[in-house]
Amino acid sequence: MRMLTISSVFIALASAFMLYGLNYDTRLTAQNVQSLEKRAEQARSDISVLKAERAHLARPERIEPLARAQGLAPATEAQLQRPQVPSGIVTGSTGTR
């Protein structure tokens, strides 16, 4: 009987410590998760800004004068060639559609 009482006291103490430990661990992990989520959200937001910037820089309105300044011009029918052997490298929509 006495053994049971003493052991239960110890078990109670041990479980109390364990629970507190777990509690703090959980809070720490939750905090960690939150900050990671925040960082992921920030990264996602940064990605969207960068994508928008890239699209803005690649807009045809800007590229066209730059390309023309390099001596380039829209393709003419004389420049088009049909590949003799069917290959994966085909100009035009075959690759994109």
């Binding site: 629970l19 994508k51 699209a55 029918e77 088009l80 035009g92």
Partner: protein
């Protein structure tokens, strides 16, 4: 009870003690079991129940999916921007705050802000939303208490004004106001968010092709310049699916400035305006006659002008002899087209227009298309005028879809602004096929359109592009003014398709009020301004669309 008898109590008391002890142990064990049960429950449940409730109603913005062109190039996206708000209950010196803010925002409405900040019971007052980072830093540097930032989503359009009419615009809360943005609200769905959480939905793919759209815009802008036009519109459509690859109306609008789009001259001339398109409407009349079994070489007596009441219909360049049906098309004879329509009869004429969906309003992803203006009764005079493109005003988009249905082999298509995945197109079994004309009729009409470009007397010969087999029809329509039609103010249009052997794309160009110049030999007819513009557009977009010029196709194995 036990206390009354001093002899008896010892034995039962001990028994009682043991029972009590057992009961205590049981109760404690039970309590522990409850606690551990609750712990297990909490551990197993997700952590989703942590919610912050805000008592003040804080305005929310909407997270919208991105917009991309048919090849996935970004047209619109949400980015997080700081928005400035004030908490009047914390602001110490109202006048100081307003004065200091005015140094950063010179256009600040100080009276309204003062009134808003006076109400100390409010906890939230927007001051300026969607600030650039530099401005936000300046406000931060003022060091005023009670001012704070909240990250919000703001719609941005990296392409500037490109495709502005199609895209539409959103309001300050990121809710769709016009164009495809309203379609996103209604069909794809937007989520209300408190912070700056981006939408997780995949990008909405439009049918537009950025390269085609830009080329169209560029060529039309130079046409407006060259012919001193008040405006222009252009459309590129896939004749089999009805997908719009490019839709331009000049002057353009900027999607990030919604108020600009309301100005009457910034109206979308493709969907929001209806016009009497003139002779390009003869495509419809001729298709009806050909479908009724009229031969290309059957004669039409166009020698005498048509009279109906006080109206007399004449031709610009009468031949002085009866014309063949083909000549009615290539010489763009008003009398001939009218006679062909009269021969079909009012009922057939009206039904044909209804089959082509030219009579009732239509809706696309860009929103409702301006309703066509159709004559109330289909009497003789309205039949005559409709035959050559007057008396019936229709939005260019709606007409282009009808023309595409006639050119593509006779299957009706509806205009689409979203990407149609291959296999979903009509004619591949995924949807009901509505046939408007026989395949032979379509083939004959295509031959006529090609003839109109190759024939030395054809009105469309300046639209020819070597190798692309262009066909088309011109139309010069006088614009209605205060006192009848204005002779010098016209809409000159060209409706082209290519390659004519197996048409794939339709190009429709309209120039509004072009002026005569030396280059156009002092004329303002479509053959001299709209047709060459269409030719330039086709020469530029043909290679982009992956179409091989005909000469090369023939040489291929």
């Amino acid at each position: 009870m036990s206390g009354l008898d001093p002899q008896q109590p010892k034995a039962p008391r001990r028994a009682n003690l043991r029972l009590r002890f057992a009961m205590v142990v049981l109760t404690v064990c039970g309590a522990f079991a409850c606690v551990s049960g609750q712990l297990v429950r909490l551990a197993l449940m997700a952590q989703a129940d942590v919610a912050i409730t805000v008592s003040d109603a804080i305005p929310q913005s909407f997270a919208r999916p991105d917009l991309a062109d048919r090849k996935g190039r970004l047209l619109a996206t949400d980015i997080a921007v700081p928005s400035l708000y004030a908490d009047p209950s914390i602001i110490l010196d109202r006048d100081e705050a307003v004065e200091k803010l005015q140094t950063v925002f010179p256009d600040l409405d100080t009276a309204a802000l003062r009134a808003n900040l006076a109400d100390k019971s409010r906890r939230f007052v927007w001051i300026r939303r969607g600030l650039p980072p530099g401005i936000a830093q300046k406000v931060h540097n003022l060091g005023l208490p009670g001012l704070a930032f909240r990250n919000e989503l703001k719609r941005t359009y990296p392409m500037g004004t490109t495709a502005g009419h199609v895209i539409g615009s959103v309001n300050i809360d990121n809710k769709g106001l016009s164009g495809v943005e309203t379609y996103i609200d209604a069909v794809v769905g937007v989520e209300g968010v408190l912070g700056a959480t981006r939408s997780r939905k995949p990008a909405v793919r439009l049918s537009l092709d950025l390269g085609v759209q830009h080329s169209l815009e560029d060529e039309l802008a130079s046409a407006v310049n060259r012919y001193q036009a008040a405006g222009a519109s252009g459309l590129v459509m896939d004749v089999h699916t009805g997908e719009v690859l490019g839709s331009v109306s000049l002057p353009t609008v900027d999607p990030s400035r919604p108020s600009e789009a309301n100005a009457p001259d910034h109206l979308d001339r493709i969907t929001a305006g209806t016009y009497e398109l003139g002779s390009i409407f003869k495509i419809v009349t001729l298709a009806m006659a050909l479908d009724d079994g009229k031969g290309v070489y059957s004669l039409v007596d166009t020698t005498t002008p048509l009279t109906e009441g006080r109206y007399t219909i004449t031709d610009l360049h009468p031949l002085g002899r009866p014309m063949t049906v083909a000549e009615v098309f290539t010489h763009s004879s008003n009398v001939g087209a009218a006679l062909l329509a009269l021969e079909a009869g009012p009922e057939r004429h009206r039904n044909f227009l209804e089959d082509l969906k030219l009579v009732w309003p239509i809706t696309t992803e860009q929103g409702p298309v301006a309703a066509p203006i159709v004559p109330q009764t289909f009497d003789r005079i309205s039949q005559i005028t409709v035959a050559y493109g007057h008396g019936l005003a229709v939005a260019p988009l709606q007409f282009a879809a009808a023309a595409a249905s006639l050119i593509n082999g006779g299957i009706r298509v509806e205009p689409k602004f979203t990407f149609q995945f291959p296999g979903a197109a009509p004619g591949t079994g995924a949807r009901d096929i509505v046939r408007v004309v026989k395949p032979e009729t379509s083939a004959r009409l295509n031959d006529l359109m090609r003839l109109n470009v190759t024939d030395p007397a054809g009105t469309g010969r300046r639209a020819d592009v070597p190798g692309y087999n262009v066909g088309g029809k011109t139309g010069t329509a006088e614009m209605p003014g205060r006192n009848g039609y204005r002779e010098k103010a016209v809409i000159s249009s060209f409706l082209a398709a290519f390659p004519m052997k197996d048409p794939k794309y339709l190009v429709m160009v309209s120039l509004f009020e072009p002026k005569a110049s030396a280059e156009t030999k002092g004329e303002i007819t479509a053959g001299l301004n709209a047709a060459p513009t269409a030719g330039r557009i086709i020469a530029r977009i043909g290679p982009q669309l992956g179409l091989m010029p005909a000469g090369l196709v023939a040489a291929a194995p």
